[in-house]
Symmetry: C2
Subunit: 506 residues, 2 copies
């Protein structure tokens, strides 16, 4: 068929898919670099990725792409189909994002963040924020310019334009609306747990298990909860991630610490949640927005639900405990089921976000949200970040931050020019709790089934209600549609209180 | 620097390198598919590779590329440099190859060979040449048309144009010139070995060693002979190969059979030879013809030299035997050094080329060369191939071929539309022997050094004399330059007779 015989929708679909063939090739180069590539390959790999990224950007921002979108928008018959309308809406959104920034700003950001990442690593090693501050100032200037190019609604603020890149439709007001009621309740819960007379056993978090055995355990668990190894892999990397090229080739990684099985187990459950979402996207829509994940927050809801709602539940440990002896051997049977369940659920405030438990984690995110909102909004100078950081850690978590390394220099995100990203972690926790409550209502006996290793019901429910839609519904709309309610702090608090208060005997 | 400020040579180099960034990305997708990719990824991967191959071909055959080459050719100052002249000569050669075929013929060949590969696999399983014959007839027709597009010298024949794709400058007359004197001498040697009273022990080729231990052994050997694991990997695949993206990221694979250590060892030495060649190409010339291997035959000379001249030598086994106990354990010490050396050098005519020993292998190649030369030349019909194949196996190897599966259907090459390829295997053996004789002359004590694990001298000699040149010298020219003589059958015969006659006590 010659291209003139194609319908506008088919022509746009081909253009989108061909671009995706290239961008997903770059995803494989990424994965390979993180897991497999010998160190000598670094220089050439960087050049390969830069070139492919440039070709992808040229196509995604091309006049041809714009014309193809416009021609489907003008095709009334095609646009009468709701799925097509969503596809075109999202294609238009991507096109606007790709074309609104002048290329000088894109290049300046790429160059600055590349150097800033390096300077951040040095500053963190030296625990010296002053060294990083001039770079962060430049980045904040560029981020503000970016936000102005993208634009934001008249009642909104600059930060919204940045957050929208990661979570479509997300605004600071929306985030504050759910964070504000959450904060005092979390603080109260954490304080109560800290002063409880019963403290759950943490002993299993200091128990040696060889990495080979942990790998066997991780694979068994990932497969049991529904990750399909015919359409994906689990490998090792320094920082766990979920990558790959598309729904039928999902590459997730985890990491192993010989002294803490729960590290690998938690990270494997987490990445499996991401992986199961990716595997649930429809292959028939591949390469188009309807075959892509909707947002970072919704993605995180899937990883958190399998990690927390499932993997830290009593039913899950009912199922796993009797299997531990066979899988990891040794004298693991000296730990009771209660010991294992407890070790997975210990709550303890600390300085480091990535090491935080399920309850305190969200307070770490709130600190970052407050600070980046103020910095982008102009009410806080970059130089004032360490003091504000430390004040908020004292106020929210009751901790005296000892140095910048364990304080405002701990995360890489800002050095990459990513602001508006952090809240998606807590949004993920909130979505996860609300989705899971809906699943429990609609699937009677769901949690009891975990005891018998029955995880497929949840996976299929998520597939039908969330995964299969791709980017058809915006996150807030999806929450409303799946749960019948707008996003709220209640389900997360019910989840945490319902589990942690009994565990701590209060 | 704006592009107008670039010299013609710099502009051409950038165009070549950017194309190489894409084609080597495709090489990684290939490697990943063979070693790592979950089965579900197949369909999308095929589409990724087809698109990247199309973009690479468009660039390689573009008017822009042609103009860039012409502008360097017209730059007298640049062309005064011998290396530049060679670079441009090879860039011109590639450009002609890329532009001489009409795209209708390229597409017809791609479609036909894709289906023919499938039909060949079915025909081979059924041992039924008649089923494959109509496909091979179509392929031969297309290959003749290809040859006519490429052209060949007035004294030559169509086959030459096809061979030139794999071995620049190679002609049927050239191949016959070295094969003809080789054939009777090989036949005589093999007959003498077959009737010798001493038959070397084959017992070590039926000795169980776990794959984990064989993998450890293979890595140790590859590293010892000079493969750099900071710039490459060794993994497993169904068919061993050497791929990767460039000299600093070389991916080789091997395969393991629990009942035959020499399978993995031979294939690891072989692929390491390819890998060491790739790692020896100059990074400073990457992406240009001066950073690429010159031909399949020269590539094969490197793999065969490490596999045969080194890996089947007495000195090599002097070095390896005492290490076997530590590396593979068990009761391997019941095999003497002589047992191990013998097992690596048993000669026995068989039907299958890929299972053939060092001596009989070349007769397998000669059968294929005779047949494809006759088929392309028009003196043999496709329908007559099985009879001619079986006649030649009787004449050259003294064997009655029992069926087409073990006869003319055993190799995949013709079904892929590759004729003119097989002789590069024996050319590789010939080059290897002649290069190795030159190395022995120039590096006194070379072979004795293997006993002490000293392999670096050979690697460095190969790097300086062969690898570092990339495509600067055509194969025949390289042989003359490195060895001072044109290619001849003598060194290979000296190598085989000097080793095998004493082993068989004659």
């Amino acid at each position: 068929m010659s291209s003139t015989a194609l319908s506008p929708l088919d022509a746009l679909t081909i253009h989108l898919q061909e671009t995706a063939l290239l961008s997903t090739s770059n995803n494989l180069l990424d994965w390979d670099q993180e897991t497999t590539m010998p160190s000598g390959g670094l220089e050439w790999r960087a050049r390969q990725q830069a070139l492919i990224a440039r070709i992808v950007h040229e196509r995604a921002s091309s006049i041809e792409r714009g014309d193809l979108i416009a021609s489907v928008e003008a095709d009334r018959a095609a646009m009468a189909d709701a799925a097509t309308m969503a596809l075109v809406r999202e294609a238009r959104r991507d096109y606007e994002k790709a074309t609104k920034l002048p290329s000088s700003l894109v290049e300046e950001m790429a160059k600055t963040s590349s150097m800033a990442k390096h300077e951040w690593a040095e500053a963190r090693a030296a625990s010296d924020f002053k060294r990083f501050a001039p770079w962060l100032e430049r980045l904040v200037g560029l981020l503000r310019a970016q936000a102005d190019c993208y634009g934001f609604s008249s009642g909104g603020e600059r930060w919204d334009a940045l957050a929208d890149l990661y979570e479509p439709g997300c605004t600071a007001a929306y985030v504050a609306g759910v964070f504000d009621p959450l904060r005092p309740r979390l603080q109260k819960l954490i304080a109560d747990l800290g002063s409880a007379r019963v403290q759950p056993s943490n002993a299993f978090n200091d128990y040696f298990v060889s990495i080979e055995k942990q790998e066997k355990l991780s694979r068994m668990v990932a497969e049991s909860i529904g990750f399909d190894f015919n359409r994906g892999r689990l490998d090792r990397s320094t920082h766990p991630f979920c990558g790959g090229t598309h729904c039928n080739d999902v590459r997730m990684t985890t990491r192993y610490s010989e002294r803490c099985v729960n590290d690998a187990l938690g990270s494997t459950m987490h990445e499996s949640g991401h992986g199961i979402y990716e595997q649930g996207l429809p292959f028939s829509r591949i390469g188009t927005p309807l075959g892509e994940a909707i947002s970072l927050g919704i993605h995180e809801s899937q990883s958190r639900m399998w990690e927390n709602q499932v993997g830290r539940s009593r039913s899950f440990w009912n199922w796993l405990t009797p299997r531990m002896g066979e899988l990891i051997g040794g004298d693991v049977s000296r730990f009771s089921q209660e010991d294992l369940y407890s070790a997975a659920n210990v709550v303890e405030p600390g300085f480091i976000r990535v090491e935080a438990d399920e309850a305190t984690y969200n307070l770490h995110v709130m600190v970052r949200f407050e600070i980046e909102r103020a910095v982008i909004g102009g009410s806080l100078e970059v130089a004032g970040i360490p003091a504000e950081w430390n004040r908020l850690y004292k106020e929210l978590l009751g901790l005296e931050v000892p140095d910048d390394r364990r304080g405002c220099l701990q995360d890489i995100h800002w050095s990459m020019g990513a602001m508006g990203y952090f809240p998606t972690y807590t949004l993920g926790n909130l979505y996860a709790s609300q989705f899971f409550e809906a699943a429990c209502e609609q699937l009677p006996g769901l949690v009891d089934g975990f005891t018998r290793g029955e995880f497929n019901g949840l996976r299929e429910w998520l597939r039908a209600n969330i995964h299969a839609h791709g980017r058809r519904f915006a996150p807030a709309e999806l929450v409303q549609q799946v749960t019948g309610k707008p996003l709220s702090a209640e389900p997360l608090m019910r989840h945490l209180e319902g589990k942690l208060r009994p565990l701590y005997g209060i």
